[in-house]
């Protein structure tokens, strides 16, 4: 290698710092907040971290908006800055700001955050009790969160396989940790983190292996290079097919599509609810962005090869998501299966493409935004329904909540209706956009299956609503905690977005349509 380095004239790469500024801001502040974590006295950490996180995300959002209209390959072709990227950046940043609000919530659990007092103290030990008694907080959550957000921003913007893999790792590793940091039910939380880590590591390995095969096929890792190789080479499909399948495994795992969904219910249930909300919204958005870019830009010419595979995955995902959700008795698990089902709907939009990808892309962008707001809101409501042992997530505890706390129950009902895709909610517009795009793309059998799955799914959403409003509340049921302004804002934004996108989807639909161009 030395010889190669010496042999070639070294040319400094150019990096368009202004164009990748949102990434730099988020990563830079993440590093600053690590330093703050190391050197600030304990009592200053929480306020500093909240201000840093919110400030950096807001700044990145402002810069992203300012970049509107950019269309270029930055950093020597490693990062694609186009409408698609910017739309996803905007969505991810807005969702992360809402998630930070949930992370920072202290009012619902007696004045401390929902994260472990001291993550290193073993559950049930004297050290843990002491940390609890001293009211410690693990404020490392915030830098970890920022690193995850940075990875998520890079993931859909990555324009070569290596950058995509780095982004995948940068977003995954902090999430593994965050999943294990719950203050209550720590064993469950740690189990979730362990499962997520082990399965995630497998998925990353699959992705890496697929990457190697695609590189072997094309001789390059850049997406445009792979696309060109697919056009030029014929007859050496083995590597291409195997590579495509393996990278698909890696990405479908992050999306939570069947049969790679096994981690979802356990992790969603065990992780701190604020983190679950963040994962359900932002990871899904980032991973779908990466999936679209990789498969449309790099592997678009080989569409006939991978479409059948994604068809099967989409059908399986819909089936698993909507049928297994019926049998769940825990609200977080139910929402997890619901997120699997939604991955299925999104996959319908993704795979039902014939000539032009723009209709499908814009439909998926809209769906992701609509689903993200609703899902963060729904999980935020879950954090509020509590009893002495923390969140009361078992469905039997939610019986009669409508009588006890009509506002919270109505808000939850609204989100569930949006998930179900009832007209006048954002979920309906999202489904409508995705199904119509897929129908035009010729995937009508999938659309039919999707509609059936929606009906099945509607059943379990409605079941919860019935439970909340048409049953007598149990004695000694859970109480609804009064949140601080943080969670209130998060829920309010979710409600507003769900209603507004349901009634007036036009502006966002148009934005998504304009954003639906990928540079290659």
């Amino acid at each position: 290698m030395t010889s190669i380095l010496l042999a070639q004239e070294f040319k400094s790469p150019t990096i368009e710092y202004a164009k990748v500024a949102p990434l730099l801001i988020v990563f830079g502040v993440a590093i600053v907040s690590v330093i703050a974590e190391a050197f600030l006295p304990r009592r200053f950490r929480y306020p500093t971290q909240v201000v840093l996180s919110l400030g950096s995300l807001a700044a990145a959002l402002v810069v992203t908006v300012g970049l509107a209209g950019s269309k270029l390959l930055a950093a020597e072709g490693a990062i694609a800055i186009d409408g698609f990227t910017l739309f996803l950046w905007g969505t991810i940043l807005v969702m992360s700001i809402i998630s930070v609000l949930l992370l920072a919530e202290r009012a619902v659990d007696g004045g401390v955050t929902a994260f472990a007092a001291q993550a290193a103290a073993l559950p049930g030990t004297e050290a843990e009790r002491e940390a609890q008694a001293r009211r410690l907080e693990q404020t490392e959550v915030f830098p970890l969160f920022l690193f995850a957000v940075g990875g998520m921003l890079l993931f859909p913007a990555a324009n070569d396989l290596l950058t995509m893999f780095v982004a995948l790792e940068v977003l995954s590793l902090p999430l593994y940790l965050l999943c294990g940091l719950a203050r209550r039910r720590r064993l469950l939380s740690q189990e979730a983190a362990m499962k997520y880590f082990l399965l995630g590591a497998f998925a990353s390995a699959f992705f890496l292996y697929g990457m190697a095969m695609l590189y072997g096929f094309a001789g390059t890792i850049s997406f445009s290079g792979i696309a060109a190789a697919i056009g030029a080479k014929t007859g050496v499909d083995g590597l291409l097919l195997a590579g495509t399948a393996l990278v698909a495994v890696g990405l479908l795992f992050k999306i939570g599509a069947a049969p790679f969904h096994m981690w979802t219910p356990d992790v969603y249930q065990g992780a701190p609810t604020a983190i679950t909300a963040f994962m359900a919204a932002c990871t899904k958005i980032a991973a779908f962005g990466a999936l679209l870019r990789l498969f449309y830009v790099a592997l678009g010419a080989a569409r006939w090869d991978w479409q059948p595979m994604i068809w099967v995955v989409a059908i399986l995902t819909l089936g698993v998501g909507s049928v297994l959700a019926l049998t769940q008795s825990d609200i977080k698990r139910m929402l997890a299966y619901s997120s699997i089902a939604h991955a299925g709907f999104l996959l319908i939009g993704f795979v039902g493409v014939r000539d032009h990808i723009s209709a499908n892309t814009s439909a998926i962008l809209f769906y992701l935004a609509a689903y993200g707001f609703a899902t963060i809101g729904a999980f935020a409501v879950v954090t509020l329904v509590r009893d002495a042992s923390g969140e009361a997530t078992h469905l039997s505890r939610w019986v009669g909540l409508g009588k006890r706390s009509p506002i919270v129950a109505s808000v939850m009902a609204l989100f569930l209706l949006a998930f179900a895709g009832i007209p006048l909610t954002s979920g309906f517009m999202g489904k409508w956009a995705v199904f119509s795009a897929a129908w035009q793309g010729g995937a009508w059998p999938l659309v039919v299956i999707g509609v059936v799955a929606s009906v099945v799914a509607a059943f379990f959403y409605v079941r919860v609503i019935v439970l909340m409003f048409f049953s007598e509340p149990a004695a000694e049921g859970p109480t609804v905690a009064v949140p601080s302004v943080f969670t209130s804002v998060a829920v309010a934004v979710g409600v507003a977005a769900t209603v507004v996108l349901g009634l007036m989807p036009e502006p966002l639909l148009q934005l998504a349509a304009r954003a639906a161009q990928l540079v290659g």
């Binding site: 290698m1 030395t2 380095l5 010496l6 070294f10 330093i35 190391a38 050197f39």
Partner: protein, 119 residues
């Protein structure tokens, strides 16, 4: 790969010497069995029973190992950079200083959190 052949030769010679002497040692020495002799040596006291498979190590060894991996990889990045440094000039310097500063932040964090304390 002619450059590597001599290394193989030396490996064979060195390894061969080690194997031969290990075998020769067990052949040449006397063999007088004695129950106490084959016990684990613990200065005369009853040997501590060892758990099958090695048991658990104190967690600080793992921390050291993880820190080592981080820093060793950092150094591996520094080597080719140092070799090609004269061609990259200021660009290489700025990029690598950024990289080192980033790693240093993690180092400072570990230090402050007591990851480098041994007692």
């Amino acid at each position: 790969m002619n450059l590597y052949v001599p290394i193989l030769v030396l490996l064979l010679l060195g390894g061969g010497f080690a194997v031969v002497s290990a075998v020769a040692g067990s052949l040449m020495g006397p063999k007088r069995w004695n129950r106490a002799k084959v016990d684990s040596y613990e200065c005369g006291i009853e040997p501590t029973p060892q758990p099958a498979g090695g048991g658990r190590f104190p967690v600080k060894y793992y921390i050291t190992a993880m820190l080592f991996i981080i820093f060793d990889i950092e150094i591996i990045f520094l080597f080719p950079w140092a070799v090609a440094f004269d061609q990259m000039a200021l660009f290489g310097l700025v990029e690598m200083v950024l990289f080192i500063v980033t790693v240093f932040v993690a180092y400072a964090y570990v230090w402050r959190r007591g990851g480098l304390e041994w007692d």
